[in-house]
């Protein structure tokens, strides 16, 4: 009877030692769902949440890079617009000769080409100002200013259910053959060639100022988006950190506690063995003659 309970106790202690050993070698408190079903489902949720969070961070970083490309292009276009306005003011000067106006017109045409080149900016092989037709070059070089992209938006998910438009259509930024900056530039060039000082001083100046406002607006949109993305990235990072902490609390073994448990169980096991060895040995036979 004594030996039976001794064996049962020893088996129980070795079982506990094995469990602790498992925890020590894996560093995980949760080995199987049955260790803590609620904890396990929490761990699964946290893991899924973490994966989603990391993906959102990737999305946001990618969207931010997109904004950087767009911002650089827009700033170049802004410089070109200012240069065009300077040339316009010079060309609108009534004292300027026809030949001089012709050469300014040539430079304005060059500026229009440069604007189109900037509006064809690419990010990772995609045209950023082409709407969702990202594989179609939005503006062709040459005299035609037609916009080949579309006005659809491209969205990125930067949080659970939170999406952000990352693109702006080229037609809304630099216009096409009939509106916007490009139309203004082409008009200016035409009026310069025609020596139409009145048009240059009046509607053209207004048109280029309006186009510049459009650009400023587009850059403001990019800036606002960049801000939002930076906030989102910081927030996602903080959430990742806290989820990681929660996951670790749910799943990971508390090493100090496990080690203390380990030495406690080891001591229990050794004393059980020792006590067993001493209890089992003697019997009445040792004491009868």
């Amino acid at each position: 009877m004594l030996s039976r309970s001794l064996l049962a106790d020893l088996a129980a202690t070795t079982g506990r030692l094995a469990r602790i050993q498992d925890k020590l070698s894996s560093g995980k408190e949760l080995q199987r769902p049955s260790d803590d079903p609620f904890g396990a489902s929490r761990a699964l949720q946290l893991r899924a949440g973490l994966a989603e969070n990391r993906q959102h961070q990737r999305n946001a970083t990618e969207a931010a890079a997109w904004q950087t490309v767009a911002d650089t292009a827009l700033s170049q276009v802004g410089d070109l617009t200012l240069r065009a306005r300077e040339l316009l003011l010079r060309g609108a000067n009534g004292t300027l000769g026809t030949v001089a106006r012709q050469s300014i017109a040539v430079e304005i045409d060059q500026l229009a080409e440069a604007v189109k080149a900037e509006a064809n900016a690419e990010y990772g092989g995609r045209y950023v100002f082409a709407g969702s037709a990202t594989l179609t070059r939005p503006y062709a070089a040459g005299l035609s200013d037609a916009y080949a992209g579309n006005t659809q938006t491209i969205v990125r998910e930067i949080g659970p259910g939170i999406t952000l438009d990352v693109n702006q259509a080229g037609s809304a930024v630099v216009g096409d053959g009939s509106t916007g900056l490009l139309k203004a530039l082409r008009d200016i060039a035409a009026h310069l060639r025609a020596d139409d000082v009145t048009a240059l001083q009046g509607p053209d100046l207004q048109a280029i100022d309006a186009a510049h406002d459009m650009l400023t607006n587009a850059r403001a949109v990019v800036g606002a988006r960049t801000n939002r993305l930076e906030t989102a990235i910081a927030r996602l990072g903080a959430i990742e950190e806290s989820s990681q902490l929660l996951l670790s609390e749910t799943e990971d073994a508390d090493m100090a506690k496990v080690l203390i448990d380990f030495s406690t169980q080891q001591a229990v096991y050794q004393s059980a063995l020792k006590a067993g060895a001493q209890i089992i040995q003697p019997s009445l036979m040792d004491f009868l003659r």
Partner: protein, 442 residues
């Protein structure tokens, strides 16, 4: 009427013989101290029939010594009943817990390789496609991660199916064991009845039969009814296994509906017919939800060429789910776009959004399995503790304690010596009578 002079000799002889028998029994106990299932025996001593003599002045009865009336097994029938009830629970808990532990192993959660992380990777791949839908490399990654997700589902379902087959094999083996135990109980029954009819005490055969019955209780809910001359009627799960000396061979069809309620057999059958198929059905629901919802959304999207998407997954459930072969061959066919434009990843984003329906369903399955396994482990722990405690109590009643046997040895040895001394006292007395009396005139 006078009492015979030799009565005392006879009385002392009875004492010597009885103490000898008691010593024999003690020796038998000591010899079987470590025999499994052995029940401590005891020679039951009782005064032998008294000699009634009717003298006119002193009517009365004169003791004639001692007799061994019975060699008794020291066994507490109530403890047997308790222990066997717990053994039944233990058998059931062990089978359930074993099965569920294997399910947990197959599930492999929470980990970086289980289906949950395959799902996570799959959703992330859709998001990547939505980020750069023009890029064939991200589409390739998506298709590959979808393929490994599908394989994960199929493997898990296959493992569950294997566990069902294993449970079936276990049921068959357990039934075979029950039948063989039944046959041995029946044949022992014949020997026991013979011995009892002859008036002898087949203690060791009874021990062997009790041990067989102990094991039978582990397998299912057993009833044992005793009849005349030790004949037993044993039923297992409501079906008669042994009737006296006749054993039946049980098959699964033998059990009446609802007859098998506990023990290893019942647990294995529940595992095979209810628990495991339930998990498979849940897994199947998760997979078929994934298939149907993905395919619906995918068919409404457009691929890289601007053509409407086809089926993303083929198959109907966890056992058949696979990525469409056309997509594996050309990932450009993944319908990531909602409008047909190559840069539009809106459809991919809504497909990634399916995680809000699929993930919780899978996590629920894991929780369910975990809770079931935890419950089974707890029941097993309880049953083990109870069985241990009851087995120890039975051991303390029926087991051989060497200290006690040594004491008995001394007691019976002394009894034997004293009876022998009584015999020689009688002998001296008679000797005195024979050789010293009646010598007048010699």
């Amino acid at each position: 009427m006078a009492v015979s002079t030799f009565l005392g000799l006879q009385t002392a002889l009875r004492g010597i013989l009885a103490q000898q028998r008691a010593l024999d029994v003690t020796a038998h106990n000591v010899a079987n101290a470590s025999t499994v299932g052995f029940t401590r025996q005891e020679a039951l001593l009782a005064p032998s029939a008294p000699y009634a003599y009717a003298a006119a002045s002193q009517p009365g009865q004169l003791g004639t010594g001692v007799d061994v009336t019975e060699y008794r097994r020291i066994r507490d029938a109530f403890l047997d009943v308790q222990l066997r009830a717990q053994t039944m629970r233990l058998g059931s808990a062990e089978a359930t817990s074993d099965g569920l532990r294997q399910v947990e192993l197959a599930l492999n959660e929470p980990s970086d390789t289980g289906a949950a992380s395959l799902l996570s990777r799959y959703w992330a791949a859709w998001q990547d496609v939505s980020n750069s839908p023009e890029n064939l490399a991200t589409r390739q990654t998506l298709v590959q991660s979808a393929a490994s997700l599908a394989e994960g589902f199929r493997t898990l379902d296959g493992q569950l199916a294997t566990l069902v087959t294993q449970a079936q094999d276990n049921v068959a083996m357990t039934l075979a064991e029950a039948n063989s135990l039944g046959a041995r109980v029946a044949s022992l029954g014949a020997s026991i009845s013979d011995a009892l009819v002859n008036g002898s005490q087949p203690n060791d055969l009874l021990d062997e039969r009790d041990q067989l019955l102990d094991r039978l209780y582990e397998l299912g809910n057993v009833t044992v009814t005793s009849g005349a001359y030790g004949a037993l009627t044993v039923t297992l799960g409501g079906a008669t296994l042994v009737s006296g000396t006749v054993a039946s061979t049980l098959s699964e069809a033998s059990f009446p509906p609802g007859g098998l309620t506990s023990g290893k057999l019942a647990a294995l059958r529940t595992l095979r017919d209810t628990t495991l198929p339930g998990y498979r059905a849940d897994l199947n629901t998760v997979a078929s939800t994934l298939i149907s919802q993905t395919n619906t959304l995918h068919a409404a999207g457009f691929d890289l060429q601007g053509l409407p998407g086809g089926a993303f997954f083929t198959g109907a459930g966890a056992d058949t789910i696979a990525v469409s072969g056309a997509l594996l061959a050309s990932p450009g066919l993944v319908a990531a776009s909602a409008t047909g434009q190559p840069g539009d990843g809106a459809r991919a984003l809504s497909l990634a959004g399916l995680h809000t329906t699929v993930d919780p369903a899978y996590s629920l399955l894991v929780t369910r399995i975990g809770a079931d396994a935890q419950e089974a482990a707890r029941t097993l722990g309880n049953a083990e503790v109870l069985v241990d405690a009851l087995a120890s109590r039975r051991e303390s009643v029926s087991g051989v304690s060497l200290d006690e046997e040594m004491t008995n040895l001394l007691r019976f040895q002394r009894g034997y010596q004293a009876s022998a001394r009584a015999l020689s006292a009688m002998d001296e007395m008679i000797e005195l009578l024979i050789s010293r009396t009646g010598r007048v005139g010699l």
